[in-house]
């Protein structure tokens, strides 16, 4: 049995100086884990993700992060990540090192890590200046055609945290809707924390094994945390809180407003359940309508 509270999971599996991944491409971003990392005051993290968004921005503002590895850093459709910009442009709260790829490069790094290959070839970056500013983007020659391809190194995080719709107590995790790069990020990691909306019986998992994205055998902790992805969304559970993403431009506009937010919504609450109570009816408005798929027959 791997179930534990978020506080326990972060305390046990995330250490100062770790290379950490909280993956999720728009869908299923685990804000609850990021907030707990801030509360526990983790330091000197190298955080990696295709799309560092609001939660990484908050972790940067809170001083948890020394280095960011990424491919697109912004508040999608709204604007820049202000805390990230303050760190890069002004060294506030302290300087932040950047290592940047494109999405395909990051996906390939996770895939190499998952497959325990030291690198992955890809056809990319020709004509781009990215390899000039990142010496980790190299080339490899095809032993059959002589063609030069780009190559990126494996990324093997110390810890990967993902959010999912459901899992059993051993961490067999089912996801539907957008899948992002979560499978590769988990298989690449030394430790995996899965945070779910719902804990289900193993029998439920076995009834539809094609939905299992992450097998329990690679999972170290299962945290049951309803609404743990808010303001991101969980297909079938709640919609994205688009208003919050817009408001975040104002929330993060300077260090004072950012600190006020952290004080109220992160340091000021002990856990996600309290955060949800505090949100109250705003959360109810996001609840998903029912749109069930059809069952398929697995019999033989």
């Amino acid at each position: 049995m791997k179930t534990m509270t978020m506080a326990e999971a972060i305390a046990q599996f995330v250490s100062n100086g770790d290379t950490l991944v909280i993956e999720g491409f728009t869908h299923l971003i685990c804000f609850a884990a990021g907030h707990e990392i801030i509360r526990q005051g983790k330091k000197h993290l190298t955080v990696c993700r295709l799309t560092p968004d609001l939660i990484y921005d908050q972790m940067i503002a809170a001083g948890c992060v020394d280095k960011l590895v990424f491919s697109w850093a912004g508040n999608p459709g709204v604007g820049p990540l202000n805390a990230l910009r303050r760190a890069v442009e002004q060294g506030v709260p302290h300087p932040l090192a950047l290592e940047e790829y494109s999405h395909f490069g990051m996906v390939s790094r996770f895939a190499a890590g998952a497959a325990h290959l030291p690198f992955m070839p890809l056809e990319d970056y020709a004509g781009s200046d990215l390899p000039e500013v990142n010496p980790q983007i190299r080339t490899v020659e095809c032993p059959f055609t002589g063609k030069q391809l780009a190559a990126v190194p494996a990324l093997n995080p110390d810890v990967t945290i993902i959010h999912a719709q459901r899992a059993d107590k051993e961490g067999n995790t089912q996801v539907w809707g957008l899948l992002g790069v979560q499978k590769e990020a988990c298989f690449a990691a030394k430790k995996v924390i899965v945070v779910v909306e719902e804990l289900v019986d193993t029998a439920t998992i076995r009834k539809d094994p094609n939905r299992t994205l992450i097998p329990g055998m690679i999972v170290d902790a299962v945290v049951v945390e309803p609404f743990g992805a808010h303001p991101s969304f969980a297909q079938g559970y709640y919609d994205r809180d688009n208003a919050f993403y817009k408001d975040y431009a104002e929330i993060s506009k300077d260090t004072a407003s950012m600190q006020a937010y952290l004080d109220e919504w992160v340091y000021g609450v002990p856990d996600r359940a309290t955060y949800c109570q505090k949100l109250g009816p705003n959360l109810d408005k996001l609840l998903a309508k029912q749109q069930l798929c059809e069952a398929v027959n697995y019999g033989y």
């Binding site: 491409f25 728009t26 869908h27 295709l50 799309t51 990424f70 491919s71 697109w72 850093a73 912004g74 999608p76 459709g77 820049p80 990230l84 910009r85 890069v88 442009e89 940047e100 790829y101 494109s102 999405h103 395909f104 996906v107 390939s108 895939a111 890809l122 056809e123 990319d124 970056y125 020709a126 004509g127 781009s128 200046d129 990215l130 500013v133 063609k147 539907w176 809707g177 957008l178 899948l179 992002g180 790069v181 499978k183 590769e184 969304f233 297909q235 919609d239 994205r240 688009n242 993403y245 998903a288 749109q291």
Partner: protein
Amino acid sequence: MVTKTRCTLKELMIASASNELREGEVVFVGIGLPNVACNLAVRTHALNLTMIYESGAVGTRPERLPISIGDPALVTSSLSICSMFDVFNYYLQGGRIDVGFLGGAQVDRYGNINSTVIGDYEHPKVRLPGSGGACEIAVHAKRLMIVTPQSLRAFPEQVDFVTSPGFLQGNHSRQKLGIPGAGPQVVITDKGIYRPCPETQELMLVSIHPGIGLDEVRDTLGWAVRVASDCSVTPEPDEAVLQVLREKLGSF
């Protein structure tokens, strides 16, 4: 020269971009105006356009205009949801994408795009979001479309940083590097429409929007632009198209 137009310049950009999409094509949809243009095309002249979002939604028909590239409305109407590993490896690098659609903070004379930094990389004046999928879309899409508002700052002669390759230094330098896609075939701004010169690949003005003067075009471009001999005025969208845009997709 001020002409009364029925639509806004943003609407004209969207409609012009939509017009570039052909029925049955596979388009890799970016967020922002490209998203609106694609969602307009499937509601007007390209009913069988396959829209792919980098989040893994393939063949989607969202009932609401997706607010982000990973909107849940993309999922419930998709023909397939796949992982991002599949999107980049099997769809994009696999050569399955007809049209890529990008914006960018800077676009230069040869259609190179910068979405990384303004100024020096190590000490940037402005730190931008970075490539995302743009670099590989620019490399692999069979043809590329660029949609972005025009200003002197946004259209320098040479971008500060090449995030996504256009025609590089022109004169077939892109082709010589063996980059698979054909590069930017059209750039649509709020002033006009540009296409690459077949010999030099320098962007040429091929169409100017109604109400925009040639001086305004020249004052907002970082190089002395060539004007195609058959340069025309951009046609405004049909009433029916405008109606779909306004009623189904919003005000722009």
